[in-house]
Symmetry: C2
Subunit: 519 residues, 2 copies
Amino acid sequence: MNGAQALLHTLKASAVDICFANPGTSEMHLVQAIGETDGMRAVLCLYEGVVTGAADGYARMSGRPAATLLHLGSGFSNSMANLHNARRAGVPLVNIVGDHATYHLQYDAPLTSDLLGHVRLPSGWVGVASSADQLSTLGAEAVSQAYANGGQISTLIAPADCSWNPAGTPAAALPPATPAAPDADSLQQVASALGNGKRSALLLGGRALREQALEIAGRIAAASGAVLLCETFPARLQRGAGRVAVQRIPYLAEQAQAFLQGYEQLILVDSKAPVAFFAYPDKASWLAAEDCQLLSLAEHRHDVNAALEGLATLLGATSQPAQCQPPMIPPLKGGALNMDSLGRSIAALLPEQAIISDEGVTNSAGVYMATQGAAPHDWLTLTGGAIGQGLPVAFGAALACPQRKVIALQADGCAMYTNQALWSMVREQADVTVVLLNNSSYAVLNVELARVGGSAPNAKTLSMLDLSNPVIDWTSIARGMGMQAERATSAERFHELFDEAMKTPGPRLIEAIIEPVAT
Amino acid sequence: MNGAQALLHTLKASAVDICFANPGTSEMHLVQAIGETDGMRAVLCLYEGVVTGAADGYARMSGRPAATLLHLGSGFSNSMANLHNARRAGVPLVNIVGDHATYHLQYDAPLTSDLLGHVRLPSGWVGVASSADQLSTLGAEAVSQAYANGGQISTLIAPADCSWNPAGTPAAALPPATPAAPDADSLQQVASALGNGKRSALLLGGRALREQALEIAGRIAAASGAVLLCETFPARLQRGAGRVAVQRIPYLAEQAQAFLQGYEQLILVDSKAPVAFFAYPDKASWLAAEDCQLLSLAEHRHDVNAALEGLATLLGATSQPAQCQPPMIPPLKGGALNMDSLGRSIAALLPEQAIISDEGVTNSAGVYMATQGAAPHDWLTLTGGAIGQGLPVAFGAALACPQRKVIALQADGCAMYTNQALWSMVREQADVTVVLLNNSSYAVLNVELARVGGSAPNAKTLSMLDLSNPVIDWTSIARGMGMQAERATSAERFHELFDEAMKTPGPRLIEAIIEPVAT
């Protein structure tokens, strides 16, 4: 048994059973070991951003880390934008990064770079193997540590000679790191604050947006009068008919500030203080009202459900019924295909337990609003703002939940970043319907350009935000990667195509040519 | 005038007149300033790897830095693989990376990461602006420093408030950093070593592979009997009929070792000691013969032509005629389309002063051999081994040399990494013919898998190196990005399509379905 085989044995024993891979020469023994390890699914991706985005989507839906297989510093750097998003999502994830053989590094061969300097940036835990045996010891630790702090990125550097040298017994699995118990003082403080008569809201994020946590939060709201808010970019929000609804903080800073104006107390539950996504001249970065008190009930590292349940107990809200979202499907609209008509079609046709990966940017609000009372579903968003996450996350979510329909609500500009994900969806026959929202522009940047102020932009400036020269034909790109694809230019045609997609398993793309909503 | 406008003024005054851009909200004032700056060409790319790869290609052909415009840590990380290649190519390049406003960083907004930690990895010079005025002062320094050490990556971090705050007078341009004078002792040592009767070779790399340097090296070879070798992955090799030919060190370590076996002395001229690209079990990392003496004539930071001329003078080789490559076009081969027949067609049809961007991997050797005596041309390779460089480098080279035909000799697996480059080629009507070598596999990894040894790979292992499920249809992908594209499955059809491409300006793609060469 070599080091690579021992590592794979340990990963498997640690309940890691899928590996998203984009390997190179220094990972060949790891590739062979994956090939030989029964029950370890190997998923080839044609770009590293797809690898890590898929591992993120997989973890959001399964709660377990996937392994990734990456190639040296350059392969790792290609994966970093989606690792940034995964870090912000707080998911468990285990990167295995091949390195040159330990004795080869001194020669500064062309692909050599400061690998440790790269992996430290997004990782919560880093291990560097220096022997074949250490590879599996550190592998066990990597998995355990991926569960620490509520979910974080573990990265194990695997020098090629540690993979190919003989190893002894594989390391045994370690128990996953467990969440911290809720802080009793924080619970007490929050409980008494909720009784002081001030206008209060629970700002829910992270795991506090799962069905069970929401149900407890709903009881707390009913008992205390506190409003339930949701962070702007949740990793996974369980919503729809029958679930406890939350009000999501708007993206635009001035809207968010107005939205938060009325609250004198914000109770943070696995969320952070609301701040502007970007700074703007003469606009606020801090979004809560000036006199608003912020209290923390639980951080991401805590057992969030236990914290909520503890608070409910202190408030006597253990059997209080939570208010639930009634079923509600807005009527269809025909004619122009825009984010309004598109949202209504999706709401009407959404199957039970669908998963929506939302990188729709300017065109997702319509769908979000329309689906408030649709069949229960999971809504996954762009947690870290590094675009190119939507397709990979949808792909990973589909592999985690093969019985559920996944919808990638995908803006065109962002889709280009990791378009290679389409190929892997076809290869794995993932049940993903990509709704490709084609408006031929970086529409959000046109909004942002207007907001940052300054003089009126000239044609050259606007050209830098324009995707219409040449127009991108997404059906052609998708077919080029083996995916069934159709185009819709009217609400009726979109409805027809989306209806068919919801009834038929397997990957497909609907290119929705989007018009602005008439005002 | 704001800081962004002052910076653009300074860049323009410093002879930087093109900016490859993938901006976000924090760069909106820079986008506006680019729009307002006459003579600053703005080139939108739909992924950051295209941005930096294009800047690399531009610099290789023009000798001048392009500016890039990148968005925060995540945008920068997407650009890093091709910055790694650019670093290995030793080209001048100026990154402008937008950051959050200085006062906004404390809030840890979603896109916040350790930007300085990112940019330090591939950069030779880093500047962080802390005021609007400093933005242009550091901009001048960034350009000057890009010329230092023979060409390096300068990265300027531009916080958003430094861009939008008012600035005074723009900073004046600084003189480009100049190359170091040759080291007289090294010249003397090399001159005497070349007279000691040992079998010697000049190992040429970097700028020593340009026409003028090669001519001097050719005279040195004629006078001393030394052989002229070429590093395996040159940034820019000027070759073809009438030029001084060099023997390129093979990629595979065991072949390279055999190739170098006969040399007792290697004189490094803007090159590094030859080492294996990767380590392999029981194979050497150091490739020169055991008793081989290595001497350095000049490093990349030196004035390489002056060093060669100085050596020629010491050797009395000032007017010695160099041996030149005679014109030689191998006869065409019909029938199967493989790297042999494809290479012969390209050699026969190559126009004068064409530029070949070679990321053909296993399929480029045939073209390289066939074009040895073709019309004079420039050959650009994957300097750092981070794949996904070929298309962007071809694009940047075409913008640097609008009068010259560019051919991207592009393997399919690598092409997927930065396929977004096709869109920018169409947008800018770059005169690039993409020869997309489709063999539906990571062929090089199949070679490497066999070389690393171990047991025979099973089907699951092999599937991780296979691109045929689903087959990628590159004509469809290219057309999806607005590019004219045709497919060739025979040598005759390829010849016809390539002939037409050489006669017609503008971007197009020929998908060559490649068969292995019959043995």
